[in-house]
Symmetry: C3
Subunit: 404 residues, 3 copies
């Protein structure tokens, strides 16, 4: 579903007539609302309440009506309310401000904090409680054009922990009609007919944006090539807050492959939304953090510093965020790869240098950039971090499908 | 389960003695019925009611009892009532007339119309309504010996939309014990022990028939090689009725690969059951409709005509049914493929020639035989057609598992 | 979860302080119990009852407390009560004596008999009965590092027949982060965060043991390379009891590949727990039963005998257990393979020699070592045997997740 961070979209079921594309304000809202009132869909009714409140109406800049003008099996009218500039409401029963999750940039500080609150509720969802059934009757399609067992299982577990159901395509690229030359757009149009939300992993940067532009149901980007992996970025920030207890004033050491890892780039981006953040970059020369992020951080007032001394950085930081050096980035230069991967290892010596309250994070999978003897230390937060992915995804599925 | 379009099969649970194969009439029915009465299975009880009604009894021609003659963990007796020639009953609570879905030829006009009525009910099934739970407790196994993401997801969505559960084998050919040389029959005998209905896709023509001959639970053919794909044929006819509002008197243009597409062949076959149907064949010379179908249509009184003029055909038809030219059929003659695929494209010009009430259909996936600018026109029915596959499959699953 | 056949493990949720590893007895039990009492988890409450009974306490030899000493999102304390030597209790509501299913050797005669009783109850679980929902809210992860459609579907069907849900990885070796070099231990630590029980198939012997040593949730070994496949061994013994009505005094002919088949080795092992068992080995010279098992049987008082005469053995046995000669074991010596596989075939002649009450078993898949005409005979028990796998797996899932 096409969206930006301040879109609201609703889908009307019923028979509506009108020109194919129109700009309309109060008159349309009126028609819209009376249709909503005939609906038994709680999301529509909730949105209807929104629409009829002046707070909302006064901010509507554009409403876009796509409509076929004929009696279809189910007529669909999409109306999108752009740029609601008033204070967003996160109260229970209200619609989520986002229709899709495409990139880390969508999230501002307020919405992050509200999502984290929902994630914390998700940690408390008990088996067979009412909370464990809030997505009953909803179907999620996991459309994975490249395999990622960890991410897929995490989303599928999240959906099932909330009572929802899952349609799985573990390797859509090889198996699906994509192999016969079907466009992503056509595949999305088919799959949206079978499900209520699409979680997509793709090998091409920008694929999530294309899916969103096509789909009339919510889409979550579960990684698109070297592009974005927004739910990883969210779970990283959530983990920092959960482990350290704060985000403002945080001191973070980013270690390892800073050039190619989308994880560290997204994380740097999100942390710039908080105050008094200090970031240390510790990486082999060949995989140094690129200038665009450095410039971005500077422009946002985030202090950063490059260092070759992991021990010293470890002793200062709240979080040592280690990453894997990716062999596939080095082509035939195995010598460079071997040199890079051995350079900064988090081991007992690094742990010993770290403060008592500090933690080690890692997006996983890890090879030997963190030695296994570190695992037993309570400051090894990476498996808790993986588990937090479950709660963040539960929160996002809940928010996109039933709202706050 | 072995079947023809007028079989009724029941499976008895209990301890029954008898010769290994016997022909029996009223006496058997009597034994049979008393066993049913001890059963708590609602399907058996419903069938029991059928069996004891004279309407049914008077038409029983043969009952086949397979029985092991020993006390098994669960004894199974199969009895099949052949050739019920009276008017079939489609009332709620009655058993479906078919045990399996193997080929389009199974369906006559009456049963098609009754299935379509159920499909229309399926369109109205709301999340968390009673209707959304009618298959609760049932397990469907999707046994796919060749991948077909679209068809598989459609069936799995259908099952889950009705509260049922799914066991998936996305690539049974490569992964299963088939790779070790197990016969299809043995695989079916194993899988039927784990599930209540089997949806099978296979690379060999006739595989569905073999599965049905083995299985004691319903089997749906989700495509067997170049053979049949009956649920696609059903959803095509359903879509025509849904979009145009009638089937008698319909004018249909079949465009593209008419030689190799099982879709268009099955469709031609099914349409012959309706009156005053006119079919236009529009295809490159190399992939023309074959004589067997032409002769069949003629014998059934269906008017047909070949044409090179897509624009003229488009202007006369209710439905322009476009298909993909399949590259794999041309081997190394890429030149012939390129010539064929560019010949008849449905674009804005064709749309402009079409009548207002007419629609464009396509079994999908499409490449460029329909240009993407056609998608926005309300007469582009192909994504609605894909969605109708969901409703048809919901209807068939309901009918095979719980009856009318 | 680390375990031996007499371990009891519990996981505490709550905030507990304590040294990282400690030996503690009554004092710990006391703290432990008061935490349990705050819990709403029925497993914890049930265990709490156990812990406070002197029968249990008096047998506790060691309790191992792993604890991080800090407030984690969810604090976990593991306590393991070793070597409960009193008579084990199989009453409803009590915890299962095992935390994991790793190898056939875990099971003694009493526990086998108790598991079989639960399996028989599982045969009677009706759709939509209360019994069909006992695992509602539980999530099973099927982590298959090598494909095995039969075993996977059997476990997934078992879980779903009891109302549980499933996360599937059909080919974890190729698709998962294992391909990037992640250790099994790390994968387990991630997956345990998403699920309540792990069913793992692996290509390496000993992998199950490693998974169990890592996981804090139950693990079932669904086959680890040439090592163990304990649920197959259990279903085999269950089938013998179900078909013949007894295990003591049973006469069994093991036919085919006795050198490489883990099935026959585990079966021989388990049967040694019963009295007056007689085993005949009938196999081509190249794949004869190895000496370790022969010596083991002798040491346990099990009579065994080698024979070249399948007909004679068949006439004496209660069970003829046929196995597949595995081509992959012969490398390039196709000639030896062809000679071996044709040597002992179970066909109508063998059936004719068998006693009326005797049965033919086979772990499946079969090629032609049992001719298909045998299938129709009631003594062909192999498809019932496959189905019994469902009941055994339902029983184990129930026992590991909710207890007796």
């Amino acid at each position: 579903m096409a969206s930006s961070s301040s879109f609201s979209t609703c889908t009307l079921h019923g028979s509506v007539s009108g020109p194919k594309s129109m700009k309309c304000y109060r008159e349309f809202i009126f028609n819209c609302s009376s249709l909503f009132k005939q609906s038994s869909n709680p999301r529509l009714i909730a949105l209807c309440a929104d629409l009829t409140q002046s707070r909302f109406l006064s901010n509507v800049k554009s409403i876009n009506l796509e409509q076929s003008g004929r009696l279809l099996p189910i007529n669909r009218v999409q109306c999108q309310a752009l740029k609601v500039e008033n204070k967003i409401s996160f109260s229970v029963g209200n619609k989520f401000q986002l229709n899709d999750v495409i990139e880390a940039q969508q999230f501002d500080r307020d919405i992050l904090s509200a999502i984290f609150e929902v994630a914390r509720e998700m940690e408390k969802v008990e088996k067979n409680s009412a909370g464990s059934q809030i997505l009953k009757g909803f179907l999620m399609a996991t459309l994975f054009y490249e395999p990622s067992t960890r991410t897929r299982l995490s989303f599928e577990s999240a959906m099932k922990r909330l009572g929802g159901e899952v349609l799985t395509t573990e390797n859509a690229r090889e198996f699906s009609s994509a192999a016969k030359g079907e466009t992503l757009e056509d595949s999305i149009r088919t799959v949206e007919g079978y499900s209520d939300i699409i979680v997509m992993r793709h090998f091409e940067s920008g694929a999530a944006q294309r899916a969103v532009a096509t789909a009339s149901i919510p889409v979550i980007n579960a990684g698109d090539g070297p592009g974005q992996h927004p739910t990883q970025a969210l779970l990283d920030v959530y983990t920092i807050e959960r482990e350290i207890g704060k985000l403002d004033g945080i001191k973070l050491g980013l270690v390892g492959d800073l050039a190619n890892g989308r994880t560290v780039r997204s994380l740097a981006y999100l942390l710039s939304k908080y105050q008094d953040v200090k970031i240390y970059f510790v990486s082999p020369e060949v995989v140094k953090m690129k200038d665009d992020i450095k410039e971005y951080l500077t422009s946002k007032g985030v202090e950063w510093e490059e260092s070759n001394d992991l021990m010293e950085v470890a002793s200062k930081c709240d979080v040592v965020y280690q990453t894997r050096i990716q062999r596939e980035r080095f082509g035939e230069r195995i010598d460079l790869y071997e040199e890079a991967r051995g350079k900064y290892i988090v081991d007992w010596a690094v742990l010993a240098a770290m403060q008592k309250h500090a933690v080690v994070m890692h997006p996983l999978p890890r090879l030997d950039e963190i030695t296994v003897d570190v695992d037993a230390d309570p400051r090894a937060a990476y498996f808790r971090q993986a588990k937090n992915g479950l709660y963040i995804r539960m929160a996002l599925l809940k928010l996109l499908l039933v709202g706050w």
